[in-house]
Symmetry: C2
Subunit: 321 residues, 2 copies
């Protein structure tokens, strides 16, 4: 059983090479550079753990770990164009340095190279993995489209928000785990539980992210608190507040959203606290985490094999990070 | 053996249904609409003919015909964003009606659905087809990038131009034929000849396209003659003219390009004629066509099976259309 750090290291050993042809440099070099400005490699680690839960890690799991990492980065490059974002992981985005056409085309090429990695796996798993990969890729596109659609809607209900955020962020985590499970030889039932574990964990993680943006300790959180509130972003907290606040509190909330006063963050946080949005969010996160852990418990392998995934869930879902 | 029209009809029967989920409509409906505004379906026909050269048309060839058609349309949607084109096939482009973010994301989803069709084929061919599909997809991206890079370069040499135009337009024709050949059970050698036939035919077609833009009969050509010259587009003709003209002619040509006079098209055409660019282009087209037909001749199947591909080559490469 391998821990997070050890898997991170072995993935980097596998992944740390050139992924694209040398020519044309104008297309491929920006992509290589973007990939080295790495994130935490959460999805590859999930893929490797999804395999190791059922058996020794197979080369195929590394190929798929690379595929999901490339897919994730493709979606970031394209999302940044759509959101007109100047920065990503503290560095200028691909389109802001190399122009939108190259970022668009580069994203396309990165998606194709993700499929190249998928095609490296054993033929016997290829059809199933490709089906899951395609389904997930479509869902991620759908999530992004819904997210953009929501920007022009005043009131988004919780059901629609859950669908959007599930597709935009959770399905890729879930699919990473399931792909690992597939090449690890898991039964269909265990694969499904692995997927549900990832989906519920992803939602718990998103609730925590929304919570920390509002109530986190700025020093531990590592970024300014209240960013979502300032930009009127739809979050679990805001949607629930708009659905449950009434009377003066609702009026205060709607006024703050509409008028963007200087002390908007304080005003909104006051409403959140009066309406108990903080404890509600904490409970909701806990519910999804427990669902995820139940999915993990239900998988028919020995408890000791599950330890790395327990540790990863704890690593992702902590109260103050 | 089926002719062009009969294959066109049977492809439409297979292809004429909804390809995308119903929800979210904002993402998928623009794509469905774009697909019904169809072109000539040349690539699907090539795929079906590539199969039928070697045996009865298999369902897999229809799946791959749909995959190449979706891939082609994905590339059009994204190219139109990059080129900021307002019209495609006489109708407003996806991004000009639905906005760039939806067109970008819709193109991504269309590429993924192309892979869904690839995944419908028999497992025994999947790895080979996916390898060819990915290789081709990367080359098409590279061709588009080189084309954009060339816009900011004054002098492009013929070798670089040939590489660009081959990747941007010919490799998908070649791969369509080869994919058909693969699922038709062709040997590797015959597959390769099928590919080369498509690649050479594609280049002959592009030379003809450039030729007709300069020297075509406007009534038969169906669009204004001289469009490429007006927009300073790099074409076979212009690159060869810049490489071969000298003295007064070169001066006249460079002046026309630089100063964009009212009678630019006439001026440039005069240089083309004095330097014999028209007959050079006609000969070059003929050379590539003959190479293509030689590739077809070299394929080890009976002559009668090759008739539809001969007819298609004639349909694509005619002197005045």
């Amino acid at each position: 059983m391998s821990g997070i750090e050890s898997l991170q290291k072995s993935f980097e050993l596998y992944f740390n090479h050139r992924h694209f042809p040398l020519h044309p440099k104008s297309l491929y070099d920006p992509l290589e550079e973007f990939l080295t400005n790495s994130g935490k490699r959460i999805r590859p680690i999930l893929c490797l753990m999804g395999n190791e839960l059922f058996g020794e890690i197979h080369d195929d799991a590394y190929h798929l770990a690379a595929a999901v990492e490339l897919f994730h980065n493709f979606s970031l490059v394209h999302d940044d164009i759509m959101d007109k974002a100047p920065l990503r992981r503290g560095k200028p985005t691909v389109h802001s340095v190399h122009g939108e056409p190259t970022a668009l085309l580069g994203g396309d090429a990165m998606l194709v190279v993700a499929y190249d990695y998928v095609n490296k796996i054993s033929s016997s798993y290829l059809k199933d993995v490709l089906r899951l990969f395609n389904k997930t890729a479509k869902e991620v596109c759908e999530g992004q489209q819904l997210d953009m659609d929501f920007e022009s809607i005043d009131h988004v209900n919780m059901e629609d928000y859950l669908e959007m955020i599930g597709q935009k962020t959770s399905v890729l985590l879930a699919a990473s785990l399931q792909m690992g499970a597939i090449v690890g030889g898991a039964s269909e039932g265990n694969q499904q539980l692995m997927y549900e574990f990832g989906r519920n964990l992803g939602i718990a993680f998103q609730i925590q992210d929304d919570y920390l943006d509002a109530f986190g300790d700025p020093e531990k959180f590592g970024k300014q608190v209240g960013g979502d509130i300032k930009s009127n972003k739809k979050t679990f907290l805001m949607i629930h507040a708009l659905e449950t606040a009434s009377g003066d509190q609702l009026e205060k909330l709607e006024k703050a959203i509409k008028e963007n006063p200087e002390n908007k963050v304080e005003q909104v946080l006051e409403v959140f606290k009066v309406c108990g949005i903080d404890s509600w969010a904490d409970e909701l996160k806990e519910q999804y985490l427990q669902k995820a852990l139940q999915n993990l418990d239900d998988i028919a392998v020995s408890k000791i094999r599950k330890e790395p995934l327990h540790a990863l869930a704890n690593f992702l879902i902590t109260r103050d990070k």
